[in-house]
Symmetry: none
Subunit: 359 residues, 2 copies
């Protein structure tokens, strides 16, 4: 089997033409079936550049399921018995993909949450910011002896076990491939994501297959890490971009590559978290250190003073007639006859929950 090349064509046919049990790892980023109906405008009037490509359009969930089961069955055949498979998706499609994986006999090892440091906001204020995507990692069967480089993952995570939630930025800037001044592909994944997947589940010389190759992030990281790879992609324009990208790369010599871990230092704690967890009850009176001003805690973590509601910082600033105020040190609660700064509650919260570092 010829390695380190892109096959142009349909991934099901291409996989069926490959030898059975021939690849060690499959990474698949299939269409998400986003079902976007309307144009979305940003508050300042700009238009969101949506994914509206034909390859993401399906007539129904049934049609999407049929497609999913077909490519997963082909993937099952080419995967070695001790290999494993990763898929990525969003709430639009990931439940269909996950159920299909289970139905085909794949054994789920983890679901991994890719938390985006910089997701697009929800412009209309109608839902929670959709700030993550989900990956599913499966062995070929319940009893398979899959590869997991536990210590490499632990080392990558400052000697703590790598968790199932990964904080990584989306692909922007110089890493984002352009063609003709605009993005070459609407859904290019960050190399750091593939780096972690390949480092966790393969060793040098393993064969990595990506049936939805796109601009070739999987191939690029595989080459970098000294893994062999095969990419399958239907659209010739993406094939050209991917080939040029990978040709221009040099593998690492011995090496390593920085994986973004996001902001370090102490985790940001919202005042609302203290209210939610019952450390401070709605209705509690907050005092400044000299009891000259008071405010009342509301159910959503905002506070109210003289009929005006806002954050602890905003209302503290208003009480002092100042432009800004650190509400954590400004406001206090009554405790044992004296006043305790709410910052002490934050310290206690961090200690109780073990949220030491951000990320």
């Amino acid at each position: 089997m010829e390695l380190n090349r892109i096959i142009t064509g349909d991934c099901i046919a291409a996989m069926n033409a490959m030898p059975a049990k021939s690849v060690d790892l499959i990474f698949a980023d299939p269409p998400y079936n986003l079902q976007l109906h309307h144009n979305l405008l940003r508050p300042e009037g700009g238009k969101v550049d949506a994914v509206d490509d034909d390859w993401d359009k399906f007539d129904s969930f049934a049609a999407y399921d049929a497609f999913t089961r077909a490519w997963l069955a082909a993937a099952h055949r080419v995967l070695k018995d001790d290999g494993s498979i990763w898929t990525i998706g969003s709430y639009h499609n990931i439940f269909r993909v996950g159920a299909a994986l289970q139905d085909l006999g794949f054994w789920v090892l983890n679901d991994i949450v890719w938390r985006k440091t910089n997701p697009m906001p929800n412009f209309k204020g109608t839902r929670f910011t959709n700030a993550h995507e989900t990956l599913i990692w499966c062995a070929k069967s319940e009893t398979a002896r899959y590869r997991f480089n536990y210590h490499a993952m632990k080392a990558l995570n400052e000697d703590l076990q790598m968790r199932s939630d990964w904080l990584l930025p989306i692909c922007t800037g110089a890493e984002r491939l352009k063609s003709g001044g605009t993005k070459a592909h609407p859904t290019q994944k960050p190399e750091a994501l593939l780096y972690r997947v390949l480092l966790a589940c393969t060793e040098p010389g393993d064969v990595v297959l990506d049936p939805f190759f796109g601009t070739g992030t999987t191939g690029a990281v595989a080459k970098l890490l000294g893994r062999d790879w095969i990419g399958i992609e239907r659209e010739e324009k993406y094939v050209a971009v991917a080939q040029a990208r990978i040709d221009g790369l040099l593998p690492l010599s011995g090496g390593d590559m920085a994986v973004s871990e996001g902001a370090r230092g102490l985790a940001r704690v919202a005042f609302g978290a203290l209210v939610e967890t019952g450390m401070i009850r709605p209705g509690t009176t907050l005092w400044d250190a000299r009891r000259r001003h008071r405010a009342r805690v509301r159910a959503d973590g905002s506070v109210e003073r003289d009929g005006r509601a806002g954050s602890i910082h905003q209302i503290g600033a208003a009480a002092e007639g100042a432009a800004a105020c650190n509400g954590w040190t400004y406001w206090h609660v009554e405790e044992g006859g004296g006043l305790v700064a709410i910052d002490a509650k934050r310290v206690a919260y961090r200690a109780a929950t073990g949220v030491a570092s951000a990320g």
Copy 2:
């Protein structure tokens, strides 16, 4: 329908005995179908106290799917058209539940990741630490007008949009209910999780249904926040624990339940009303913030620019060549040598006339 009580029995039968379209929110924590075949040993030899209750055993994915679709269909019937449903699960079951939700016509609004600050480590070093669970939030249909208290969520998160990943501790310590020295229920959820769900999607007086009530976390938080609730639980030992727990609770006072509201809750003011009352005189020049465009106020509250007259919004959009425009924040009047947004005039108008909230 009798509220604020626990129904002992099977949740499907109990929901089918309830009136159709009678609840505003459903929170469901169904069995996870954990498929734990072997006893798991800790490194030091102790046995992990795993979920091995009969209620979590299913013979196959098909049996679990049939159960899931049955209770979800019953839930669909009792949910109001503009209500919403939350479910929680792990990778063992959440894909089955999510696919069933979509197949039954529920419309996914978000998948939410509950990131645990203190998850159980992976003792064997064979996988990533399973550090999260997944919630799925759905409206009853694609076109339903569900409730989302956007500004309350934003206030709870230090004035940033609440994201789809929530960092919360697991339920331990004093909050963890005990019976006879051991934990009363193997999967008790933290109150903070329910607090956020109920604060986001209900208002005081709404009816919240939990078909897998367990030790009654949903009921406890509903009572605290002044929401009505109904719990359904099959196991009498859990019913007793939940009832005692909720009976011992005091709700917040009415004022403490108040949360932040956005401008959509404010009374609508016609621009013409400001002209009528003399706050803005006909003939006044309106400017955009950077003085690139100007318009002239007419006697009827319309404005004119380049020979075209229309509302402040229409003429603002025309000036910008945009599809839409909020004229209140786009246009400004000269005042004291600087520019003041006409929105400030609207604030003054509301204050002067006492029209605070929308009717």
